[in-house]
Every structure is written in structure tokens, then in C-alpha cells.
């Protein structure tokens, strides 16, 4: 187990290194750059641009810039935002709680509703409930997030006036109920696609397991149906689902970019979209690394969890 763990951690570190090199290279080699903001501003002269370029260190070769940046990252100096003039660490970290709140609640929603509806659909397969869940899930999977978000705002904020049209809280604070009201729509929008995925996966995993001999044995022994379903059925279905949780993280991070923009949710996704527009390299790289870290660690945890649940996996690596 320890060897397995060590191997996976080693892989993860290599992956992060790869992400940083590719991300940095792509960002710097793409045409244009942070100085385009100045070109667009007619009040900035060519000399001003050259001066700013030197001050930002952008006149040095890309590999020198990378080494400086990577060394800074390891020693805890993440650099300064080109346009905010503040340390990048602070800029990114102050956005993290908002993103975690949105992602966490959406994931929780997806787990509860997705697994429950998947089980129900599997147990009642080929009934109205099954078809209804399947149709809803396909609908959710094919709807673009931004469209669904705008629809939600139109119906619940503009037309019915039940919920606020974006933001994380009313200006000047607001208590827990106020924050919940703000959370509801973005959480549903971001969670909807995940619910659909969980529902589909749970359904097919359960279908496969429910036809196994040991389920029939358990039923024949006279166990209560709930016990058979959850104790024997769901438990066996968990292995692919835990892997799915790991695989969903990139989807969640990507979905957060769009959802945060539509709902002006003050998280890292919104910050990333902004920084992308101005090519604020230090901020972009920091968010990229935090995002990569979340995905890599999430997948690592999922792999470990699978190994714990399913002895066959860890045994093949011993």
C-alpha cells in the first residue's frame, strides 16, 4: 500500500511540473500579451510600453522567466499581479473560499440527488420514473451552462423576483439566509450537469450489480430490500463512482468558470476569466497551479479511496 501510495504521489508531482511548464509556455508563446492592454489605450505611448515591459521583466527570454517564476513559487513568492499591484498569493487565496463554497455545495447536491435518482431509476428500470430521470439527465447534459444560468436568472430573478440575480451576498453583508438565497441558483446550475452524470453512472453501475448472483442470494436469505440495495448493491457500485468523483473535478473547475461569470460569483473562476482578458501572467499561473493541484490531489484521494474499498486494486500493486 505504501509503495502504491508513493508511486501515485510521485506521478502527481511530475504531472504538476508538466502542467506548469506547458501552461507557462503556452501563455507566453501565444501571440499578444499583457502589454496589449496598453496598446489599446491611446493615451499610452510606445516609450511607455517599452518601459512597462522592462519593469514587468517581459523583455527577458521565456525560459529565464520560467525559472524565476518556478523558483519563486517554491519559495512562497508567487509574484505580483501586473495590474493589481498586489501579491498574487493574496489575490488568489481571498477568492478560494467563494469557489470552494460553490463547488462543494454543488458536489454535495450532485451526490445526494444523483445517487438517489440513479438507484431509483435502476430499481424501477423501464418504468415512467426511469424514463423521466433519463430524459431529465440527457437534457441537463446537453444544456450549455451559461444558457441554463441566464434562464434561471430570467425566471427566478427578473420574472418571479424570488431570488437575487447574482452575487454572493447583498451589498454590505447580509446574514446566512441572504447568502443561501444567493447560493441557490448558481449551485443548482453548476450542480445540474453533475447530478445528471451521477444519476446515469449510478443507474448503470447498479443495474449491473443488481443482476449478480450474490444479490439474488442476499434476497433469498430474506434480508430487508433496503439492506440488499444499500449494503450489498450500492457498496459494490461505489468503486466506479469514487473514480467518477475524481474525474468530475476538472468538469467542476471548468463549470465554475462559466457559472461564476454568469452569476458574478466572486470566486477564482471569475478571477481567471478576468486575468485571461488582460493576460495577467502571474495571476493566471497561480490559478492554473491551484486548479491543477485541486484536480491532482482529488484524483489521488479518489485512487486511494478506491484502493481502500477494493482490495484487488491495492493487491495488484503490492
Amino acid at each position: 500500500m505504501l509503495r502504491y501510495l508513493g508511486g501515485r504521489i510521485g506521478q502527481s508531482l511530475l504531472l504538476l511540473l508538466g502542467v506548469s511548464v506547458i501552461g507557462f509556455a503556452l501563455m507566453h508563446l501565444a501571440p499578444g500579451g499583457p502589454l496589449a492592454v496598453y496598446t489599446l489605450n491611446p493615451t499610452v505611448t510606445a516609450q511607455d510600453i517599452a518601459r512597462v515591459k522592462h519593469e514587468f521583466g517581459l523583455d527577458q527570454p521565456v525560459h529565464v522567466q520560467y525559472v524565476k517564476w518556478a523558483f519563486g513559487l517554491l519559495t512562497g513568492n508567487w509574484g505580483y499581479s501586473f495590474f493589481g499591484g498586489r501579491p498574487v498569493g493574496g489575490i488568489v487565496l481571498e477568492r478560494l473560499p467563494a469557489t470552494l463554497e460553490l463547488m462543494g455545495s454543488s458536489l454535495a447536491l450532485a451526490l445526494i440527488i444523483g445517487i438517489a435518482s440513479g438507484i431509483v431509476a435502476a430499481v424501477r428500470r423501464n418504468t415512467v420514473i426511469d424514463y423521466a430521470t433519463t430524459t431529465l439527465a440527457m437534457l441537463a447534459l446537453s444544456l450549455p451552462t451559461f444558457w441554463f444560468g441566464l434562464l434561471g436568472i430570467y425566471v427566478f430573478a427578473q420574472t418571479l423576483g424570488w431570488l437575487p440575480a447574482g452575487g454572493m451576498a447583498s451589498t454590505g453583508g447580509g446574514g446566512v439566509p441572504d447568502r443561501l438565497r444567493h447560493l441557490l441558483l448558481p449551485m443548482l446550475v453548476l450542480g445540474f450537469v453533475l447530478v445528471a452524470q451521477w444519476s446515469r453512472y449510478t443507474r448503470s453501475a447498479m443495474l449491473e450489480i443488481l443482476s449478480q448472483d450474490y444479490i439474488r442470494t442476499a434476497e433469498a436469505k430474506g434480508l430487508r430490500p433496503m439492506r440488499v440495495l444499500l449494503g450489498h448493491g450500492l457498496r459494490a457500485a461505489l468503486v466506479p463512482l469514487v473514480t467518477l468523483a475524481g474525474l468530475q473535478l476538472p468538469l467542476l473547475v471548468g463549470g465554475a468558470l462559466v457559472t461564476e461569470t454568469v452569476f458574478s460569483w466572486p470566486g477564482m473562476g471569475l478571477l481567471f476569466v478576468n486575468a485571461l482578458g488582460t493576460r495577467d501572467y502571474p495571476v493566471l499561473m497561480a490559478i492554473l497551479m491551484v486548479g491543477a493541484l485541486v484536480v491532482v490531489v482529488g484524483n489521488l484521494l479518489a485512487d486511494i479511496a478506491v484502493a481502500v474499498i477494493d482490495p484487488r486494486i491495492r493487491l495488484t500493486h503490492v
Binding site: Q47, Y80, W162, G174
Partner: protein, 541 residues
């Protein structure tokens, strides 16, 4: 099955009840007494008035927290703010040769922390702008300064290296920063001040909630009178549709930058409890011709293209009739706009005749050519800009009718506005730009023959326009202080430009701004990039 169905229904009911309970708190914070919420679609992140790059939303914070020596009113007149009076040649503030400026400052002004404001602050601001280590976005004309002194606490004397009448605008666009806070800071670029500013303005900076809003509280000691609002919020809502929804529900009182999408203009004007205003902007939409390319070195081609384009159709079909047509690089409401310019009009037949006369004959492939040069070119702008893409198709159709072939070649913003523009690699561009030191009408930077970057110049004459008469007029314009005299010079410049057409002016942008009826004192100012120039006099009922 009945079990699950019942469970489902109960769950649904519970959900509905939860929604209803949450709904009762609606608009609890919006419309709070004395509070005004200004909605914008971009986030202000740097509040140092010398360092920020995001003109508009960051200018707004500048206007709210800081002061310049003088301001500009909606009618184009300057009025004193930190200065005691506007310097003129008549009152001795400007020397007879126009090169020595003696500015007397207002007494009794204090910074938000109580420290008195003096001439040392103005001198420090100028030092910071000229310091090569500080990443100021623009020197705003202060690079014409030779030296400056502070004869006493209430006076600053500045000597210019050369004739530079637009210097008046330099100080209208330069907010003064506090010396006592920033003089000892090791690196101004990363000073904490940049996100926790201290100014002399009508409001004090209270808080910034990253990604959400910036909160301001009134400065009761403000030298132009204490503000009437008890709280001012600049709220950041990135999506235009979402901001519109918040304006509709009352979560936002003013929808300013980037303006309500023109598509929603007629719907917005019918919203109850609010009004919709058109806010003129300094940005003029152009077709930029690269005069260095063989197709465009012939003035007849540029004029024929201008005449073949249905500009009114462009404004009406793509922009819902909101922008103002203009024949100059200035918006039609500007004091220096030449009202006698003659519109060549939309006349494809005459355009074709002009090309025939100039020797551009229709060849076998259906496209005009002359001396082996085909009258075919590309037009570029930011990829993904829907309105511009529609306009390009319209222009393409217009030009096809006079046998001119135009190909659309759009690129991401950071590419098209990089070397492709600066080094004049384009054929034509569709672009919206404003003058260098707007609202000053000086346009030297874009039209003087010595300022072509592709030929080693340092300006932004990307169209590679060369005309000795224009060069002489530009020099005369910046050397003349008297406004009436300057008006004549710029009238002539605009007349020549409309005849030469190095760039084809189409329209001046206007923003559709939404204001709730409860807000009073909000006034559109065509000379400022955002309308928060007079927040000190705003109030809510």
C-alpha cells in the same frame, strides 16, 4: 413505487416551501436609505490613479476618492478643484509664451486622514509620474515638463520644454496622490496604498470585497461640499444580462459601464421607475486604411470606399440606431467638432464612377485592378465581437457592388492590436479609438508623418499617413492657447482629413445608461470616461 413517488412529491413540496421562505427577504439591502449602487461590468483592482490601466471603472474610483487640479464640466468648460483658479494668460497663470504655468492651489484642503494638502503633494505626483521605475500607464503629456518648483505651500510653478497647449488637459486627467503616505514606500508599484487609497475626494474608501464591490463612505470635510449620500457602492457584475437583471430588480441603481446592450435599449426605456440616457463617449468607430499598401496609396480608392458604404444602415441595423454618425475623429458633440463638414453621402454609383475615372477597371475575375494591383484587401478586428462581425459583412456586401473584394480576417484582441496594428501589417482595420489626450482635440499622435512606428516613429500613426500641411497644422494647434484660435486650426485639420480619408470615420459610440428615478444629481458628461465625475452632488430619495 408508491413509496418513492410520495417521497418525490413531498421533497418537491419541501423545496417549494424553502424557496418561498427565502423569497421573503427580497431586496432587503437594495434601495437602502442614502445608499447608491453603481453597477459596472468590469472589476476595478488598482486604485492608484497613476497606475491603473482599466480606463472607465478604475477612473470611476479615481473620481470618487481623488481630485485633480481642475475638472471638466459637461459643457466642456474647466472648473477649479484642487487649484484655486484656472490658470490663463489673462490672470497670469500662463506666461505670454505659454511655457511657464504658475498654479495657485486651494487652501484648507485635507487628505482623508486629516493631513493638510500642499504644493508638495502636487510636486510629488509629478515626480512619481516622471520616475522611470514606476509603471505609470501614461505620462499624460507631463513628459513635456522641463522643471518644476514650489515657491510656497500654495503654489506650483511648471516650465515646459516646448509649446504644449493640451497641458491643460494633462492636469485635468492627473489626480494628486499623497506625499506623506507614499514618499517613504520602497516600491510604489506594489504599495498597499494601491488597494487602500487615501485621497482628498468626496468619498473615503471604506472596503473592497474582491470580485463583488467597493464601498465608499462620505467625506464630511470635502472642500466642494459634503456629499449627500451616506454610502456609495461600485458593484461589479461581469455579465451584461445579469447586470441588466439586477438593474431591473433594483439591486443596482445605475447601470453605467459598459452600458445596457443596444439590443435591450427599447425594452430598458419602458422599465418603470427608471430612465435611460444616452451617454456620449470619445470613441469613434473607424475603418483604418493602411496607406502604405498599394491599394490604398490612391486617395480616390479610400474616398470611393467611404462613399460606397451605407453608414446609416450600419448604425441602424447593427447598433439599433444608438451611436451618432460623425465625419471626424471627434464625436459630433465635441466643442472642436467642425460643423461645416460636408457628408459625401452613400452613393455606390458615383463611387464606381470615381474608381473608373482613377483607372481602377473591372477585370475578368469581376474585381477592379490597376497596374497589376487588385482592389482586394482584408479587414481585421477582434474575433468574437458580434456587432463588428455583422458590420463587416455589411461592408463586404456594399463593396462587392462596386467590384471591390474584401476578405474578413479577424484575430484575438491581443494579436490584432499587437504588432499587426503597431507595425502596420494590416490592410484595413475596424477599430474604435479616442484621441490621445481627450478631451483635447490634438490628434498629432495619429496623423503626424514623423510618428509612424512602421517607419521608426514613436507615435501611433498606424495608417502611415503623410501630409506636410497636416504636420504644420498639428504643430500650430499644440502651440496655440486661445480656444477660439485653436478651433479654427482643428476645423481645417478635420476638413483635410475628410478629404484625404486615411481613416474613414463612421460613428461616435454612445453608451445606453440606466438610472433609477430615486437617484438625483447624476449627469452624463461627454468628456469623462464614466459619469461618476460629480458623485459629491448625488442623492437618493
Amino acid at each position: 413505487m408508491t413509496m418513492t413517488a410520495a417521497f418525490g412529491r413531498r421533497q418537491l413540496l419541501a423545496g417549494g416551501a424553502a424557496l418561498a421562505t427565502l423569497g421573503t427577504g427580497r431586496m432587503a439591502a437594495a434601495g437602502a436609505a442614502g445608499q447608491c449602487v453603481l453597477g459596472v461590468t468590469q472589476e476595478a483592482v488598482n486604485f492608484n490613479p497613476l497606475l491603473y490601466v482599466n480606463t472607465g471603472v478604475e477612473t470611476s474610483v479615481e473620481y470618487i476618492v481623488f481630485d485633480a487640479l481642475w475638472q471638466i464640466a459637461p459643457d466642456g468648460r474647466f472648473f477649479p478643484n484642487l487649484a484655486a483658479e484656472i490658470p490663463t494668460q489673462a490672470n497670469g497663470g500662463i506666461s505670454a509664451d505659454g511655457r511657464t504655468w504658475t498654479i495657485r492651489l486651494r487652501r484648507g484642503v485635507t487628505w482623508h486622514d486629516g493631513t493638510p494638502f500642499t504644493a508638495a503633494d502636487v510636486a510629488f505626483t509629478l515626480e512619481t509620474i516622471l520616475n522611470p521605475k514606476v509603471t505609470v500607464r501614461s505620462r499624460n503629456g507631463h513628459d513635456h515638463v522641463a522643471k518644476f518648483t514650489t515657491p510656497d505651500d500654495g503654489t506650483i510653478r511648471i516650465e515646459l520644454r516646448d509649446d504644449f497647449a493640451p497641458y491643460m488637459v494633462s492636469w485635468q486627467k492627473t489626480s494628486v496622490i499623497p506625499r506623506h503616505i507614499l514618499a517613504g514606500v520602497p516600491d510604489i508599484n506594489t504599495a498597499p496604498f494601491n488597494t487602500a487609497p487615501i485621497g482628498t475626494g468626496p468619498f473615503r474608501f471604506r472596503e473592497r470585497v474582491a470580485g463583488s464591490y467597493i464601498g465608499f463612505e462620505p467625506n464630511p470635510h470635502y472642500h466642494l461640499g459634503a456629499p449627500k449620500l451616506t454610502s456609495l457602492i461600485q458593484k461589479y457584475v461581469p455579465d451584461q444580462q445579469t447586470l441588466y437583471a439586477q438593474f431591473q430588480t433594483g439591486e443596482v441603481d445605475i447601470y453605467d459601464l459598459q452600458g445596457i446592450p443596444p439590443l435591450l435599449y427599447s425594452r430598458a426605456s419602458k422599465l418603470p421607475g427608471s430612465r435611460v440616457l444616452l451617454s456620449p463617449s470619445p470613441f469613434v468607430e473607424f475603418i483604418y486604411f493602411n496607406c502604405g499598401k498599394p491599394q490604398f496609396s490612391d486617395k480616390a480608392v479610400r474616398k470611393a470606399i467611404y462613399m460606397a458604404i451605407d453608414r446609416k444602415g450600419w448604425i441602424d441595423a447593427v447598433y439599433y440606431g444608438v451611436p451618432q454618425p460623425t465625419l471626424s475623429y471627434l464625436p459630433p458633440n465635441h466643442w472642436a467638432y467642425n460643423r461645416n463638414l460636408k457628408d459625401p453621402g452613400f452613393d455606390p454609383r458615383q463611387a464606381a464612377a470615381m474608381l473608373d475615372a482613377a483607372g481602377w477597371r473591372v477585370a475578368a475575375d469581376g474585381v477592379r485592378a490597376k497596374d497589376g494591383v487588385r482592389l482586394a484587401f482584408t479587414m481585421s478586428t477582434t474575433a468574437g465581437n458580434k456587432s463588428r462581425e455583422q458590420a463587416q459583412q455589411l461592408v463586404q456586401q456594399n463593396l462587392k457592388k462596386i467590384n471591390v473584394e474584401m476578405t474578413i480576417r479577424n484575430m484575438p484582441a491581443s494579436v490584432v492590436w499587437g504588432d499587426y496594428t503597431v507595425k502596420s501589417e494590416f490592410d484595413t482595420l475596424m477599430v474604435g479609438w479616442d484621441p490621445l489626450l481627450y478631451p483635447d482635440p490634438d490628434y498629432t499622435d495619429r496623423i503626424a508623418s514623423s510618428l509612424i512606428p512602421a517607419r521608426g516613429g514613436s507615435g501611433s500613426n498606424y495608417v502611415q499617413y503623410q501630409n506636410p500641411e497636416i504636420d504644420a497644422l498639428c504643430a500650430k494647434g499644440t502651440a496655440t492657447i486661445d480656444q477660439a484660435e485653436r478651433k479654427q486650426i482643428y476645423d481645417r485639420i478635420q476638413e483635410i482629413l475628410l478629404d484625404d480619408l486615411p481613416f474613414a470615420p463612421i460613428f461616435a459610440y454612445e453608451l445606453v445608461v440606466g438610472v433609477k428615478d430615486r437617484v438625483h444629481g447624476y449627469e452624463v458628461n461627454p468628456y469623462t470616461p464614466i459619469n461618476s465625475w460629480n458623485t459629491g452632488t448625488w442623492s437618493v430619495s
